[in-house]
Amino acid sequence: MSRGMPGWRRLRGLIRKEALQIMRDPSSIAIAFVLPAILLFIFGYGVSLDAKNVPIALVVEEPSPATASLTGDFQNSHWFKPRHFSDIPSAQEALRQREVMGILWLRSNFTRELFSGGPAPIGLFLNGVDGNTARIVAGYVQGVWGKWLARYAQDQGRELGLPVDIQQRIWFNPEVRSTNFLVPGLIAVVMTLIGALLTAMVVAREWERGTMEALLVTPVRVREILLGKLIPYFVLGMGGQILSVAMAVWLFEVPLRGSLWVLMGVSALFLVAALGMGLLISTVAHNQFVAGQLAIFTTFLPAFILSGFIFDIGSMPGWVQAITHIIAARYFVEVLQSVFLAGDVWPVIWVNSVALVIMAALFMGLVRLRSRKRLE
């Protein structure tokens, strides 16, 4: 009892100090709340695989009710912003000037050939400079075209003769928004940065200001110093996590199909791992600038590229896939995507949670091993 008392008092003192500093110095609060909000905004809106309001040129050589109906569908689709051109050369000029992303060409025989079962009566030119977007636009065009065709056939009381060119390279379903799978993954990437930055920066700040030196000479134990950092920033980080989830659900309208408790539980595991990475960084980086740089390069960038949030891990070369196993964000991305979109898929949650526990234990263990009550 008497042995435990001072340790508890010291820890409480450290936590109280940290809480006061968090309240007075807005930088930690900025990292925990403003940074995830900004990153989610930027990436949530910017890194979208959806094409919206794509400017596209429409060249109708021989207007008819059928072409009017089809161009009307393009007009009404929020994917496209069509502009009418009278002939192909002027449309091509607009394509070259990058005023339009592509040209949809309805040839003079369009209406005639429509149900004849011949080759596809519409032509599509795309600006292939941005290949990714071009492919997506092609998908959308096919989507609009397919839907229109089905409806038109129905209206005309005819069976659809399947004249559509089935050389589709990408399967695309316009009902699924890329935001739905991007934002949950993004939360993992953003929380990696937040967690690592919080601890790395505040410990570096103590070194920079010379307070760590004074702290180390007191009877405080290393584990108390570490817990004194981990506990307050865990609370702060969970606040950031709640904000991110709230933004995902309300701002980006991502459906949350699994349970919130599972989500928060796994987030807590991941946050310990991320804070541990930050503490590990702080054992080498004793000034805030270096600590910040290291946090970005060793946690954020690998998480961005190798967590599978945007680039599919399955299509990476084998050795890169092997590396992804030490990226904590990878496991978190999987859990987040399935809890958000599919619900509580327990096999996925268990496997990844165990992996996160191992990662957290690994980082905290390394931190404990590398931390001494000494300056070198």
Binding site: G210, L216, V217, P219, R374
Partner: protein
């Protein structure tokens, strides 16, 4: 009896302690076989210039570093084996006080009380004691970051002592605080020693503080030169110090002449004359000193601690450099009036007035010293004079140019040596010189000539290829001065040029400044070494953004003469000036 035996054992014992640091592919020896002991219940000063190894030694005792070789015993405990036990019985104040600037005075105390396991029931009494000791009671609700340097230092001390300790380690507590706060700190330290029997180990680079210690360990370049009572050091110098004055000669000429005289070990300007230390304990005659019949008056003066340090270094074979030959260059007087004219100059940073309406002039070829503690506004004033920082209000003429309108023209005539020497650490000596010459628009033949001149003049030729970051401090300082002189400026600004260098390097530096003054170069220098201010023609004393006094060192001292102290030193005069300025100050702080 056992108790008595342990209490008489030294508080600290160092035996053959060695410590090196490696970094950047080379190894630096910080401590090279240090053996010393610290007696219980007294104040021991760990004295030496920067890089002597003082901080490393302190950190070894505090258990923050492990020695490579040797053993340290603190309060009978082996520091290597029982670091936690040692740490719980010592108080340690690191160089930057270890305070949380965004916590209040009270919150800092509470934190350290928690960390030091001070039971809550004992706190009120201890807090009251400490607040009484440090005079911080009215400020408990203030953020530590908003305290003045002197108050921070006292709070740092209170935090390291929040639980009564047997041993107190203070690492350079007096750096950068004004002389008044320094004096108060010494009073607190002696209070602790006398009333609570604390053992204090205090490091300092100010040699004059040695005389305030009961015991001294003198260190230089990782080695202990000697240990003992300060008396022991000054006793060896008895009968070797004299003040030489001459009615006819300018004090700089006099210093140069005396420096060349064979019996003289050291010659320094002090007041209106030159203080010499002789090689033997024998009063020199005017003829010995190179003077002609009756033009020199020689008076014996008491020895100082620094004399013995200089003597030891010289005996180790560090010869005094030969005096510089005047170059014969004379700066032109291309414009009318004073070289620098400052009128009602103000500089605001947010709500804070860093410089609050100062006025002074500097005449052609004058050496002007700008004195004051950290935060007095010296560096801000300097940056405005160099055109690096625009003033908020007021007028500023440098070399006949209004700095607001023609900063570029004025800058061509200015040389600036920044605090901490702005050198490119990974460039060689020659590359630094070449770079700074180019910056000032020198090229081709002219640049080559100036680089060669600097290498020779500053005795850097052998080191031309050395990486400047690896040079010893004294050489860095020389190189920094050389880079500021590449374009032969007519005005030169030196910001804390000698802080931390050893006394020989400081003498060497001033020898060059004197040579510049003889070329009629105008020199502006900031310093917090009061002794150094004696070498200036005139000084301006600043405190909290205002000029408190201005005049020759003699005039300043004379103005503060009192019945109790008929011949104050410049430091005493400075303290009394600041004290007179204090009543207003205390009102402001309480508000």
């Amino acid at each position: 009896m056992a108790y008595k035996a342990t209490s008489q054992a030294p508080a600290l014992m160092f035996s053959e302690v060695r410590k090196g640091f490696s970094g950047g592919g080379r190894k630096v020896t910080a401590l090279d076989g240090v053996s010393a002991s610290v007696k219980r219940g007294v104040v021991t000063g760990l004295i030496g210039p920067d890089a002597a190894g003082k901080t490393t030694l302190m950190r070894l005792v505090a258990g923050l570093l492990l020695p490579d070789e040797g053993e340290i015993t603190a309060l009978g405990l082996n520091v290597r084996r029982q670091p936690l036990e040692v740490q719980s019985s010592l108080g340690y104040m690191p160089q930057r006080f270890g305070l949380y600037e965004d916590l209040t005075v009270q919150e800092n105390l509470d934190l350290y009380a928690d960390l030091q396991d001070l039971a809550p029931r004992d706190r009120p009494e201890r807090y009251e004691q400490l607040m009484h000791l440090t005079g911080l009671a009215p400020f408990t609700g203030r953020l530590a970051g908003a305290l003045s340097g002197g108050m921070k230092q006292k709070l740092g001390l209170a935090c390291s002592l929040v639980r009564p300790k047997e041993l107190l380690l203070l690492d350079e507590p007096t750096v950068g605080v004004d002389p008044l706060s320094r004096r108060e700190l010494w009073e607190i330290v002696y209070n602790l020693v006398e009333e609570q029997g604390v053992t204090v180990l205090l490091s300092t680079a100010y040699l004059d503080e040695a005389e305030r210690c009961q015991e001294v360990i003198l260190m230089h370049q990782g080695k202990v030169l000697d240990q003992g009572k300060p008396q022991k050091f000054t006793d060896t110098m008895a009968g070797r110090s004299f003040l030489v004055t001459s009615p006819k000669m300018n004090k700089r000429h006099l210093q140069r002449m005396l420096g060349e005289a064979p019996p003289v070990l050291d010659a320094l300007i002090l007041g209106g004359g030159v203080r010499v230390v002789t090689k033997q304990a024998q009063e020199p005659t005017a003829a010995d000193l190179g003077g002609e019949g009756g033009d020199l008056s020689i008076k014996a003066v008491p020895p100082r601690f620094e004399d013995s340090f200089v003597a030891m270094l010289r005996e180790q074979g560090q010869e005094a450099a030969p005096p510089l030959q005047p170059s014969g260059r004379q700066c032109s007087e291309a414009w009318e009036g004073p070289v620098i004219e400052v009128k009602d100059l103000k500089r605001r940073f947010g709500d804070f007035m860093a410089v609050d309406g100062i006025s002074f002039v500097v005449e052609h070829g004058e050496v002007l010293g700008l004195l004051g503690a950290n935060g007095a506004g010296k560096s801000t004033t300097f940056r405005m004079l160099c055109g690096l920082l625009p003033p908020s209000e007021g007028q500023l003429q440098v070399a006949g140019h209004n700095l607001r309108k023609a900063a570029a023209q004025a800058r061509q005539r200015i040389g600036y040596m920044a605090q901490r020497f702005s050198l490119y650490a990974n460039l060689s000596v020659r590359e630094n010189l070449r770079f700074f010459a180019s910056v000032y628009g020198l090229g081709g033949q002219r640049r080559r000539e100036r680089v060669d001149w600097a290498l020779e003049e500053f005795e850097l030729a052998d080191l031309a290829g050395a990486t400047s970051g690896e040079l010893p401090l004294g050489y860095k300082q020389r190189l920094a001065l050389a880079t500021a002189l590449m374009h032969e400026p007519e005005i030169i600004f030196l910001d804390e040029p000698t802080s931390g260098v050893d006394p020989l390097a400081r003498r060497e530096f001033w020898r060059r400044i004197n040579a510049l003054a003889e070329e009629k170069v105008t020199v502006l220098v900031t310093t917090h070494f009061m002794e150094e201010a004696e070498y200036c023609d005139r000084v301006v004393i600043m405190d909290r953004g205002k000029v408190l006094a201005e005049g020759t060192p003699e005039e300043i001292k004379l103005a503060q003469k009192t019945g109790e102290n008929p011949s104050p030193t410049l430091e005493e005069a400075f303290i009394s000036l600041i004290e007179k300025n204090q009543p207003n100050l205390q009102k402001e702080q309480a508000a």
